[in-house]
C-alpha cells in the first residue's frame, strides 16, 4: 500500500511539473493561474451594480476608478486621475491620466468620466454608488477639456475624493457601453484595469486574464480564477490538496484544519465591519430612555465573548465607526457592570426588568446563533427578559433596512467612504433607511457640520465630538469588529485584504 501511494504521489507531482513547464522561466517560476475559492460569485459583472465588497474586489481587477486607496495605509492615491483640487466648497476639479486605453481600445477621457458618473448617480439603475455618493448631493459632471473634469454639488461635499475612491465608482467607456446607460451589462466587462474579462459562469466562477496593454505596472499572474465552492469544509479540503491557492470565508471551527496543514496558513485581518445591536428608539417605549440603552451596553461582558466565542479573533468596538477609519476614534468602552446596569434600569422605571424582542439572521454572519444566545443570556441577568427571533436573510434585510424591527436586532455595517461620516450620517433624521434613532439638538448639529466641514482639523474635532455623543447616547449596543479569516497556500505571495475588506489580488502570485 505505501508503495502504491508513493507511486501515485510521484506521478501526480510529475504531471504538475509537466503542466507548468511551458512559458515559465526557471528564475521566477510562478504558477500561471491563481485560484481563489469563495462561497458565491458576484451577483453581476455590471461595473456599477454589484452589491458586496467582495464583488467589488473582483470587478476592480478589470475596472478602475479615478482614485484608489493604498492597500497598506488606506491613503487616497491617484489612479485614473492624476491630481485633483477643491475649487470651491461645491466644486472639485480632476486632471485625468493621459494615454489610458480601455480593453476595447477606446481612449479614457473626460467624456467617459461623465458617462460613468451619470450612469452611477443619475440613471434608474440600482447602483451601489448611489449609497457612496447619494444623488441628494445634486452632483453634475462638467467636461472642461478631454483631460479635465469638474464635479459640482448643490451641497458642500468635502468627501468627493473619498467617494470617488470607492470600488463602486468604476470608470466605463462612453462609447463601448453607450447602449447600456440604463441597462444591465451581463456579458462583457470593459474597463482599464490590469486584468481583462474572460468569463463569468453565474454561480460557478469568474475568470480574468492579464491585460497586456495595461498602462501601469504589469500584474504578476497571467490568470486569476475566482472559483465558487459554497461549502466551507470543501474549500478547506481544496486548499489542503493544493487545488486552490486562497480560500475566503474560513469559519472559526475550521481554523485548526488550516493551521495544521503543511502547505497552507491562516490569513487574518481585522474586518472593517462594525457589529452592533440596533435599538428601536422610535417605537419601543422603553428604549427611548438613554439609561435603558446604557444598561444594555453595560450588561454584556464583551471581552469574555470575544475570548470564548471568537477565540480572541476580534476587537472591541466602543464607538459607532471604529477607530481605523478617517476621523474615527475610540471613545472608550462601556464597562461590564451588571450591578450598575440594573440600577440604571430601576432609575428608568423598570425595577422589575422589562421584555425585549431581539432579532437575528442565521447564515449571514459567523456564529450568529451563538452571539444571539449569549447576548440574551447577559441581558436576562439584569432582568431584561429577552425573546429571540430568527429570520432568513432576505426577509431580515427587508425589515432591517425598512426600519421595521422592534425592539432590537443584530447588524454589521460596512464603511464605503472610509470616513466616520459614513456611519454617523445614519443618525440624521433625513437618512432614508435604518431609521431607529434620530439625533437631535447639539448632536445633530455636530453631525451636520461635520458632513460639510472641509478643514481636516475641524473635521477631526467634529467627528470625535459626534462619536462621543453617539456613544453617550448609547444609540446602539456597541459590540466588536471581527477578524476576517482566510486560508492561503504557503506559496502565495503578495496577497492582502485591505482594511476596508477589499481583497487586493492584483499583486498576488503563486510560486510554482
Amino acid at each position: 500500500m505505501p508503495t502504491r501511494r508513493a507511486v501515485l504521489k510521484g506521478a501526480a507531482a510529475a504531471a504538475t511539473v509537466g503542466a507548468l513547464a511551458p512559458g515559465v522561466t526557471r528564475a521566477q517560476a510562478r504558477k500561471p493561474v491563481l485560484t481563489i475559492a469563495l462561497p458565491s460569485t458576484p451577483e453581476t459583472i455590471d461595473p456599477h451594480q454589484f452589491r458586496s465588497v467582495l464583488s467589488g474586489s473582483i470587478i476592480n481587477l478589470m475596472g478602475e476608478g479615478l482614485l484608489t486607496r493604498d492597500p497598506n495605509t488606506m491613503e487616497l492615491k491617484p489612479l485614473l486621475a492624476e491630481s485633483w483640487r477643491n475649487v470651491s466648497p461645491t466644486m472639485w476639479e480632476f486632471k485625468l491620466r493621459r494615454g489610458v486605453k480601455f480593453h476595447n481600445g477606446e481612449e479614457f477621457s473626460a467624456e467617459c468620466v461623465k458617462f460613468s458618473i451619470d450612469r452611477i448617480v443619475k440613471s434608474k439603475l440600482n447602483t451601489l454608488g448611489k449609497l457612496t455618493w447619494p444623488p441628494a448631493f445634486g452632483q453634475e459632471t462638467q467636461i472642461v477639456d478631454p483631460h479635465t473634469v469638474r464635479f459640482t454639488t448643490k451641497v458642500p461635499d468635502p468627501m468627493v475624493p473619498a467617494r470617488l475612491a470607492a470600488e463602486s465608482m468604476t470608470m466605463s467607456p462612453a462609447r463601448g457601453l453607450a447602449e447600456y446607460g440604463e441597462r444591465f451589462v451581463t456579458d462583457r466587462f470593459i474597463g482599464t484595469g490590469p486584468y481583462r474579462f474572460v468569463e463569468h459562469v453565474v454561480g460557478d466562477r469568474v475568470v480574468v486574464e492579464a491585460n497586456a496593454g495595461y498602462w501601469g505596472a504589469k500584474p504578476p499572474t497571467p490568470r486569476i480564477v475566482w472559483q465558487v465552492i459554497p461549502d466551507a469544509a470543501t474549500r478547506v479540503a481544496a486548499l489542503q490538496r493544493g487545488d486552490v491557492d486562497v480560500i475566503l470565508n474560513l469559519p472559526l471551527p475550521l481554523v485548526p484544519a488550516v493551521e495544521t496543514s503543511p502547505n497552507a496558513r491562516v490569513y487574518s485581518e481585522l474586518s472593517s465591519l462594525v457589529s452592533v445591536v440596533l435599538l428601536n428608539t422610535k417605537e419601543s417605549p422603553a428604549l427611548r430612555d438613554r439609561r435603558v440603552r446604557q444598561a444594555l451596553n453595560m450588561a454584556v461582558d464583551r471581552p469574555a465573548i470575544i475570548k470564548n466565542l471568537f477565540g480572541g479573533r476580534a476587537r472591541l468596538l466602543n464607538g459607532a465607526a471604529g477607530p481605523a477609519v478617517s476621523n474615527g476614534f475610540d471613545p472608550g468602552p462601556y464597562p461590564y457592570d451588571p450591578v450598575k446596569a440594573k440600577q440604571l434600569l430601576a432609575e428608568a422605571g423598570h425595577p422589575n426588568g422589562l421584555e425585549l424582542t431581539f432579532w437575528q439572521s442565521l447564515g449571514r454572519w459567523t456564529q450568529a446563533e451563538e452571539i444571539a444566545q449569549v447576548l440574551a443570556g447577559y441581558w436576562e441577568k439584569i432582568g431584561v427578559r429577552t425573546k429571540l427571533q430568527v429570520l432568513e436573510w432576505a426577509e431580515y434585510i427587508k425589515r432591517a433596512g425598512g426600519s421595521l424591527f422592534k425592539d432590537a436586532f443584530y447588524y454589521s455595517f460596512i464603511n464605503a467612504t472610509w470616513d466616520a461620516s459614513y456611519i454617523l450620517q445614519r443618525f440624521k433624521p433625513s437618512f432614508a433607511s435604518f431609521r431607529y434613532y434620530d439625533a437631535s439638538g447639539d448632536l445633530l448639529k455636530t453631525i451636520e457640520e461635520y458632513d460639510q466641514a472641509f478643514d481636516p482639523k475641524r473635521r477631526r474635532e467634529l467627528g470625535m465630538k459626534a462619536q462621543q455623543g453617539v456613544r453617550e447616547e448609547a444609540v446602539w449596543v456597541f459590540l466588536w469588529q471581527l477578524d476576517e479569516l482566510m486560508g492561503v497556500s504557503k506559496k502565495v505571495k503578495g496577497f492582502k485584504m485591505r482594511a476596508d475588506n477589499f481583497i487586493w489580488a492584483r499583486d498576488t502570485y503563486v510560486e510554482a
Binding site: R5, L8, K9, A12, A37, S40, E43, T44, D46, R51, K124, N126, T127, L128, K130, L131, P134, F184, T186, V201, V202, G203, D204, Q227, V228, I229, P230, D231, A233, T234, A237, A238, Q240, R241, D243, E392, W393, A394, E395, I397, K398, A400, G401, G402, F431, A432, S433, F434
Partner: protein
C-alpha cells in the same frame, strides 16, 4: 402535472418574500423601490403575473433572472447537463451495487451474508448524504489525494459526488431487489427452470431477475425525484455546477424566475422519466402490453 407544480411554486415563492428589496441598495428611498417593483411587473395582481409567466413559458421564454439579468432558459440549459450527468451516474452506481447485493442476499437468505448486506443497506439509507460526502472528501480527497474534491469536468471529478448521491437510493433499492427476488424464487416457474437442469446463474439472471425487475423499475422512476432533490446537497458540497445549486441560490435571493423555471423543467423531466418507466414495463414484461390491448 407540470402546470400544477408551477402554480404551486409560483404561489409559494411569491408568498415567501419581496425580491425587490434585495435588489435595491439597503438605503434606497421608497421611490426607487416602487419604481423597481413597477419595472419588474411585481405591482400587478398575482393571477395576472402567473398568466403572463405561463404564456411565455409555453413559448420557451422563462424570463430573465432578477439578479444578474440573464435569460433563465439559458442559465438552466447551462446547468442542466451537469445535474443530469450526476444523477444518472448516481443511479447507475446504485443499480450496479444494489442489484447484485440484493440477489446475493436473497440467494443466501438467513445466512450471515444476508445479514451483513442488509445491515449495510440500512446503514446506507440512514447515512446523511452531506456527512458521507465530507468523509469521502477527507479520505479520498485530502488523505489519499486520489480524487478531486470540487468542480466538474473529468470522470475523476464525478466519482465522489456520484457515490455520495447514490447512497440516497442504494439501500432502499438493495432491500427491494432482495424481497422481490425472494418472492420470485419461490415461484413454480423457477422451480421448473431448476428442474430442467439449467445452471443456477442462468435461472437467476433470466427467469428470476426479469420477473423481479418490475417493482424495482417502478421504484427507480420514483426515486429519480429523490435523486434530483439530493443533488441539491451534493452539488453544494462538491461545488458541482448543476441546477440544484442554481435553484438554492435563487431561493435565497428571491430570484423568482429562476426558481419557477427550474421547477418547471425538473417536473417535466420527472414526467418524462416516469413515462420511460412505463415503456420499460412493456419491454421487461410483454404481458403488460397484452393486458392493455
Amino acid at each position: 402535472m407540470a402546470f400544477g407544480v408551477s402554480l404551486a411554486v409560483f404561489a409559494l415563492v411569491h408568498l415567501s418574500g419581496d425580491p425587490v428589496l434585495l435588489m435595491v441598495p439597503t438605503d434606497a428611498p421608497p421611490e426607487v423601490v416602487a419604481e423597481t417593483r413597477r419595472a419588474l411587473g411585481f405591482d400587478r395582481p398575482l393571477p395576472e403575473q402567473f398568466a403572463r409567466w405561463i404564456a411565455r413559458a409555453v413559448q420557451g421564454d422563462l424570463g430573465v433572472s432578477l439578479r444578474n439579468h440573464r435569460p433563465v432558459a439559458g442559465l438552466i440549459a447551462e446547468r442542466m447537463p451537469a445535474t443530469v450527468e450526476l444523477t444518472v451516474a448516481a443511479l447507475v452506481i446504485a443499480v450496479l451495487v444494489a442489484v447484485p447485493a440484493g440477489i446475493v442476499s436473497a440467494v443466501n437468505r438467513g445466512t450471515w451474508i444476508d445479514s451483513l448486506t442488509m445491515v449495510g443497506a440500512v446503514a446506507g439509507q440512514a447515512l446523511p448524504v452531506f456527512w458521507l460526502a465530507l468523509l469521502l472528501i477527507a479520505f479520498f480527497g485530502v488523505h489519499l489525494r486520489w480524487l478531486p474534491v470540487y468542480g466538474h469536468g473529468t470522470l475523476a471529478h464525478l466519482v465522489l459526488p456520484a457515490v455520495s448521491l447514490s447512497t440516497i437510493v442504494l439501500g432502499r433499492l438493495a432491500r427491494l431487489v432482495r424481497s422481490s427476488m425472494l418472492e420470485v424464487l419461490g415461484q413454480d416457474y423457477v422451480r421448473t427452470a431448476r428442474a430442467k437442469g439449467l445452471a443456477e446463474p442462468r435461472v437467476l439472471a433470466i427467469h428470476a431477475l426479469r420477473n423481479a425487475a418490475i417493482p424495482v423499475v417502478t421504484v427507480l422512476g420514483l426515486q429519480f425525484a429523490q435523486l434530483l432533490g439530493g443533488a441539491v446537497v451534493t452539488e453544494t458540497i462538491f461545488a458541482w455546477p448543476g441546477v440544484g445549486r442554481l435553484v438554492v441560490e435563487a431561493i435565497f435571493n428571491r430570484d423568482f424566475p429562476i426558481v419557477q423555471g427550474v421547477v418547471l423543467v425538473v417536473s417535466l423531466i420527472f414526467v418524462v422519466v416516469n413515462l420511460l418507466v412505463d415503456v420499460a414495463y412493456v419491454v421487461i414484461d410483454p404481458r403488460i402490453r397484452v393486458a392493455r390491448a
